[in-house]
Symmetry: D2
Subunit: 354 residues, 4 copies
Amino acid sequence: MSSSSFGRLFTITTFGESHGGGVGVLVDGMPPGVAVDPAAIQHELDRRRPGQSAITTQRKEADQVEIVSGVFEGVTLGTPILMLVRNTDQRSKDYGALKDVYRPGHADYAYAQKYGVRDHRGGGRSSGRETVGRVAAGALAKAWLATIGVSVVGGTVRVADVEASKRDWDETERNLVRCPDAEAAPRMIAVIEAARDAKDSVGGVVEIVARGVPAGWGDPTMSKLDAMLGAAMLSIPATKGVEIGGGFGMCALSGSRTNDVFDGERYSSNFSGGIAGGISNGNEVVVRVAVRPATSIGKPQVMAKTGGGTETVAIEGRHDPCICPRVVPVAESMMAITLADAWLRQRALRGREK
Amino acid sequence: MSSSSFGRLFTITTFGESHGGGVGVLVDGMPPGVAVDPAAIQHELDRRRPGQSAITTQRKEADQVEIVSGVFEGVTLGTPILMLVRNTDQRSKDYGALKDVYRPGHADYAYAQKYGVRDHRGGGRSSGRETVGRVAAGALAKAWLATIGVSVVGGTVRVADVEASKRDWDETERNLVRCPDAEAAPRMIAVIEAARDAKDSVGGVVEIVARGVPAGWGDPTMSKLDAMLGAAMLSIPATKGVEIGGGFGMCALSGSRTNDVFDGERYSSNFSGGIAGGISNGNEVVVRVAVRPATSIGKPQVMAKTGGGTETVAIEGRHDPCICPRVVPVAESMMAITLADAWLRQRALRGREK
Amino acid sequence: MSSSSFGRLFTITTFGESHGGGVGVLVDGMPPGVAVDPAAIQHELDRRRPGQSAITTQRKEADQVEIVSGVFEGVTLGTPILMLVRNTDQRSKDYGALKDVYRPGHADYAYAQKYGVRDHRGGGRSSGRETVGRVAAGALAKAWLATIGVSVVGGTVRVADVEASKRDWDETERNLVRCPDAEAAPRMIAVIEAARDAKDSVGGVVEIVARGVPAGWGDPTMSKLDAMLGAAMLSIPATKGVEIGGGFGMCALSGSRTNDVFDGERYSSNFSGGIAGGISNGNEVVVRVAVRPATSIGKPQVMAKTGGGTETVAIEGRHDPCICPRVVPVAESMMAITLADAWLRQRALRGREK
Amino acid sequence: MSSSSFGRLFTITTFGESHGGGVGVLVDGMPPGVAVDPAAIQHELDRRRPGQSAITTQRKEADQVEIVSGVFEGVTLGTPILMLVRNTDQRSKDYGALKDVYRPGHADYAYAQKYGVRDHRGGGRSSGRETVGRVAAGALAKAWLATIGVSVVGGTVRVADVEASKRDWDETERNLVRCPDAEAAPRMIAVIEAARDAKDSVGGVVEIVARGVPAGWGDPTMSKLDAMLGAAMLSIPATKGVEIGGGFGMCALSGSRTNDVFDGERYSSNFSGGIAGGISNGNEVVVRVAVRPATSIGKPQVMAKTGGGTETVAIEGRHDPCICPRVVPVAESMMAITLADAWLRQRALRGREK
């Protein structure tokens, strides 16, 4: 299996560099006969797109998706679906100055050590642009999951020290930071704007929730649903932590408090985050992702030179002062893809729909 | 690929239920010609073994490992290595009362929904006993990594509210809780003993560090080293969170603070946890794992009955009041296995040792 | 995925050397709730066992199988099934003389070049003994397939120049060579006995037929059912060819002759061997396997010495003059495993039984 | 792993239908720093292209390849390489009449049973057009193998009853049928022309040879090089048999005749086809593939109607009377891809070039 692939049965493989002919995704394992709405895919891509608001990078990419294969007369054929997005706004000159240095926090040095060759015009595969394909694939997974009533929502629940205290998922698309708490959103935005003005960046936390997941998806050992979600989320650029349900917050509590009481139909709490022993338990699946402060900042920084020594350089270009708002659709997509894969495995195991 | 497998090239597959003929692991991809010391494998298993101290479960399992295949005259053959540990202390009667209920926090309900059949005598594959195989495989991975100077250490850095403030890795095996801070250890132990006496449990955090990892291991997208470690750690029973380097703590900081400055040889800090863009950057690889309070507790709890309704039941048996000390060798093993797999992939890519 | 594994969803991984602690198989992906009859597994192993008749090797191995995990109260749990067979008749001394030469036709030289280390006491993983695990796994696959009326039969249809002209599958277990033609069987046996007496060996062809396979199993491109069967059969030791349906014999015919006419229910012929475009078409699935003359023969042969130069050596030991009779259960097993895997994939794709 | 993928480490995944937006391939695992010559890729595609000569289909497809990602300044980046070929000559009207019937020998019925939906405008994924991606990927594999002196050649060695008696690999591109025997070529062509004029088709055999393969590639059990080549070849449309080295012809010989004598440097014969125990032995790797008579013929044929009953229909369109000449570059590609994958695995195992 390619190291650029995710999913055993619902398999996505992304391709493309930020400065080549384009980026995209090859999806295999999508069942046949599922209606595909290109507008729905484009809508998700627009949520991820740079330049969408005042608090994201001002780079402009149209990110128009072409479905090259696997769909006929509006439904999936059950065959590989190639989705391609052309690169358009490639200001390679912005990157010329970076040819001879390793940017701090970036993959430049690790990348050079790994491959011995790199496309210095951008982050190559480490670029956030790689996530275009994930979002396109996620839109397909969401459409399929919706056919049995499974939905995936998400939002920014923390920026720097500002935390959301509500989870109103209808609110997220009404504010620029995609916060499910209308009261916290403007404070988050203010923090982001301050970072932007300081040519710096801030981090945050994104939360993703899947509703309607039947009990029985996932596996008991190496392919625990927790583990697959862990891999899914930590494969997103700039993420450095993931927690399920109670997560790190449970450490200080007792087992008698965090064992979710179940009466056969409902759970009294959700410390397990909807997953027990690696298998969905019928509760909402809840994941939170730690998003580090964007490593691309405008402030001058000390950088190692490829030929030895250091230099203080300011990275020109248009940066995201906080990438949480743009991580939301990507993390939702990875949740949807992970669940689609688990659903297929469960269908294989039991030979029926749920 | 089996859902009980981990690793693309250094592939481990565990097998066995807590109450069947035994548990173990099949390791494939281990290179030929590596010296294998059965005593070293047994030493790691003894670190995981129940009954090893006053603060772990008092169940007794000898956990004697047999190397059935793949090793000849003390060195690996490059062929599949089967390691088998027989079950010995099986008190099925302890579990008889649990046949008709779903234990809270456990996988019982999810398991029944998934499979439609379960071995009610214990946790089946969800049992902590499944980790025997991981530790045996981890011992092999450690031995191989050591041939190029890569070492893996770990310890309990938090129990409930008690945090370690030092990282003295030589200290961990000197105290029962495997804490790298000699001062914090007794306080952690006191908290665990209090939980045990209350027939309850507490959670904590385990930290694993890999030293000497060369730059260039890992992949830039779906198989980021972060992602593989995320899957590795969250596949361990009772874990509900994982963070790399700065993790969730970075969210409140600025990019100018968390971009590790590199002078071409050394890093000024390690917020990236030794991984940039999914690829090792030459710094120490640092992972922390959130361990929930053990779900098996002696206190009476409300449980759903398989036939409907609820019942208050006290689970007889011998439980771990805090599983952190026993998670340490398991998490170290998963780190070692993940790195061994990444090393093999890098050898394939570049055709040389590092 | 381990290179010792076969199958994406019904995954078998064999382990063990001919002269170590034992051989066997780890089966993962077997659905839960399937009845397992240990006697049926043992019956298949006995069909593969050395020493079973006058025309096979006279080595004696009891080949008693132990089911270590994954089965509880006579039904599968849906978890990994480990089956282990201990080695008993290990006459390492027979092999001592072979430590310093590369046997012609054997993997000795290739093996040494690959691994740099080898267990000279036998063929290591290249030994026919590795197939024990395949047969045990095949018995499980057969049992599961039988629940929907799919059966797998096979036999020796050619030995040297003697060809079977009938396909009476009830006949195969009535003669030592497992030939489905009662008239041809004694002539085949005579040829084998002559080879045995000359301390030489002969080749042949084994045919495997699967009946009751529903249309729709398999995939259209890389995982064509033909391709999977090709890999399955050519992974069996001593096989050097495989053909589906009309196979090589179709080359001389015209398309108007070999396009099987279908009336919506029945086919007029079966040149496609039950597979069209890689997908089962509802006809019987028919595969033939070319089995080379056994490379282990008693005649003196010129061999390269590991240190350079050549030597004429007679390989002591007890050899199979024709391995076709013992390949039959192995090839049946690989057919059953391949079909079980395809069935699971189709269940994932369509979410229903067939 | 996607069922449209081939190769564990050198992984290709093809996509595209004959009548959608295009076809192509995603290659992952190609090492970095390898020079890529677009003209060499185009040359291979031209060898596969329809309309290339009087004895192939007269359909015209330009088959111009675009390298979308993974190559920068003429060398590979080590990242996924997407190659895309647009569809141009789509005469869907030719296929309109076929919407309501299942063509004999084709996958139509099996496909409909598998997916429940199909693109009736052509063979969908079962179309020979899917092989475009294989050839593009094969050109990359060939380029990489060439860096250590491994070359892959192939040709048509049989058409109907006409067999080549020579293997002059410099001759193959000088005649339309790609026969390595200049004397047999015109006789083969005459047979093909006769079939074409009769609106019928003929089959044949293609042979592929890899030279310079070092000993030690491949694996001893499930991933034998024989098995991987078996899967590779039988995944090519219209193939129904494969043999390695002596293949089916060995059945009638004795072991003392077919055990290739090795003096430590050279082999006296090549019945093993360069592979012993699944591992390359330093001899030439030789594979032959049985190509059935093309199932698309112009003669009227009885076909099952999708709604029941049968009908006699003549398939309009432009068909290949013998597809061997066009299978040659595809089979060469699959050989090269299989070897590239085995090479990568061996580099992982041993950590060095060969």
